[in-house]
Symmetry: C2
Subunit: 316 residues, 2 copies
């Protein structure tokens, strides 16, 4: 491949972390990696484009963090242990300052999860970041979308709606609450929670397109429906302060939360609470899996919430 | 991740090939893959941006072919056997016709090498394609850049300069020769040659930035120099016809050839010729590895070729 600037690659290589299972990292035609015996490989790749997946005003370090976080969130949703990543960075020009800032955020999160950056490229083009992540999961233990069963509780980690609130504030020209903006720019991939739930939860997905849309994917893959109690959706103090009237739309249909939505049998409630406490991850039961194929959200009086707000019926 | 259009993903999933070692392909948060026991994983990722890595007039099927080809070429340069790939496609709009055409080219090449498309995403943004490829190589058998030794022959597969000639013709507003344009749009990844050379060649790289620049990477990594005989550089009949006077600059410094440049000991000449004949891949000896650190190209009288034309001394 035609690389943009060799000294940008050197900048990245000099700071990329290592692991014992990385035989050959950045600097050859391909990386050489040694998978552990007996494990399956979980692999995800996602692109973030400027102005589409992050506001153009986002700080380079936050772009770096988020580009890795959204990918690690996919591994979390499979219950996988992260190991390696590759990074393809398209930049309008050879901006070493941007790359340094980007790496500050990217590598801080990589280090937190012992992820080695083993390859990729830097090319000229509109600002865009493509990341692929690789993790391990014991054979048969992966959390998939197709295992939800009627009667399962529906859970979600953390809280929902902060990122949508931050985006809405920016769209209105308002200054975002700092805590909301941090949730938009620096989502927390729920790696520990995902690994704790492997073998316990029936189905799992990360909430990136909005809770109802993403739960719709679980329901479609599993051939079931779901009923969600809006009043049970966990909200941060910042969201509750910010605009209580818009809480439900943001929580139910907003994107970019990167929490895990999962289903588990009623008998596993105590076990779920226990493993997530060990994983230092808050979680809430927010509804249950039903027969049929509809994802229904009800308000605090049990009345169906008008679907016109979200358009999520499209995905159910 | 926020996907652009779910029906685009469905279009891709419906056509992606399978393999026995793909436990779970497109459609969950991550793919699940079963690496073979004892093998190392070779991993490469490259992005192609419109107007930078391919002319904006390129047909969708050719963009698809090339996006996979440049990545498979990296695996070829490691001597690896391709297995899986992921695709992240950024498009200005949900253009199903473009996606169908793109897949025609991408999947034709994938099928040729038994590569399964296991994941990725489609997002909104300027036209850009990021592909990651995964292959297997026996432990210790990978072709690296750092193994060249003084006295090695320098070889190159196929012929050089066609892609640069096609680009130059387009830049001049001329109609490219069809054969030259095909070499620009549909490069052939030298997978069979790379696998045949594993354990035999000392060092290998694919020629994407220009022969002298890429050989410079081998020399720098190996702590050696090289002397290249320009008159020995293999040229296609189309190139010889097209513009003989520009043959050497295009061959020595043009990019996008995706041939393999490799070094091997003199005693291995017959063995190299034999395994490449079995791999149905032409190859030429074009020079030798020297002491020192300079990459020198000489003309047919043995005189050094002016380095100002290529600027490749920067890379040596």
């Amino acid at each position: 491949m035609q690389a943009m600037e060799f000294d940008l690659i050197a900048r990245i290589r000099d700071r990329a972390g290592g692991r014992a299972d990385v035989v050959l990292g950045i600097g050859d035609d391909a990386a050489l990696l040694q998978p552990p015996p007996g494990a399956q490989l979980a692999l995800s790749m996602d692109t973030l484009n400027a102005g589409v997946h992050f506001p153009t005003s986002t700080a380079p370090a936050d772009i770096g963090w988020k580009a890795l976080a959204v990918n690690l969130s996919d591994l979390a949703a499979m219950g996988a242990e992260p190991a390696w990543c590759t990074l393809s960075l398209s930049l309008p020009g050879a901006d070493a300052g941007f790359v340094d800032g980007f790496l500050d955020g990217f590598l801080a999160l990589a280090q937190e999860h012992s992820v080695a950056l083993v390859g990729g490229d830097t090319t000229r083009g509109p600002l865009s970041v493509c990341v692929a992540v690789h993790g391990f999961v014991a054979t048969g233990a992966a959390l998939r979308r197709d295992g939800a069963r009627e009667g399962d509780d529906v859970w979600v980690t953390g809280h929902l709606g902060d990122a949508a609130a931050a985006l809405a504030a920016m769209g209105a020209g308002a200054v975002s609450d700092r805590a909301l903006r941090a949730r938009l720019d620096r989502p927390t991939p729920r790696i520990a929670a995902g690994r704790a739930l492997a073998g316990l939860a029936h189905a799992c997905i990360d909430v990136s397109d909005g809770l109802l849309a993403d739960l719709g994917h679980i329901c479609r893959a599993s051939g079931v429906g779901a009923r969600i109690e809006l009043a049970a959706l966990p909200a941060s103090p910042a969201l509750a302060r910010f605009a209580a009237a818009l809480r439900w739309p943001w929580q139910a249909c907003g994107g970019d939360d990167y929490e895990l939505c999962f289903t588990a049998p009623r008998e596993a409630r105590d076990a779920v609470a226990q493993v997530l406490a060990q994983a230092a991850t808050a979680a809430s039961r927010i509804g249950r899996i039903t027969a049929g194929q509809d994802v229904v959200a009800v308000d605090d009086r049990g009345e169906p919430w008008p679907t016109s707000r979200g358009g999520y019926a499209h995905f159910a």
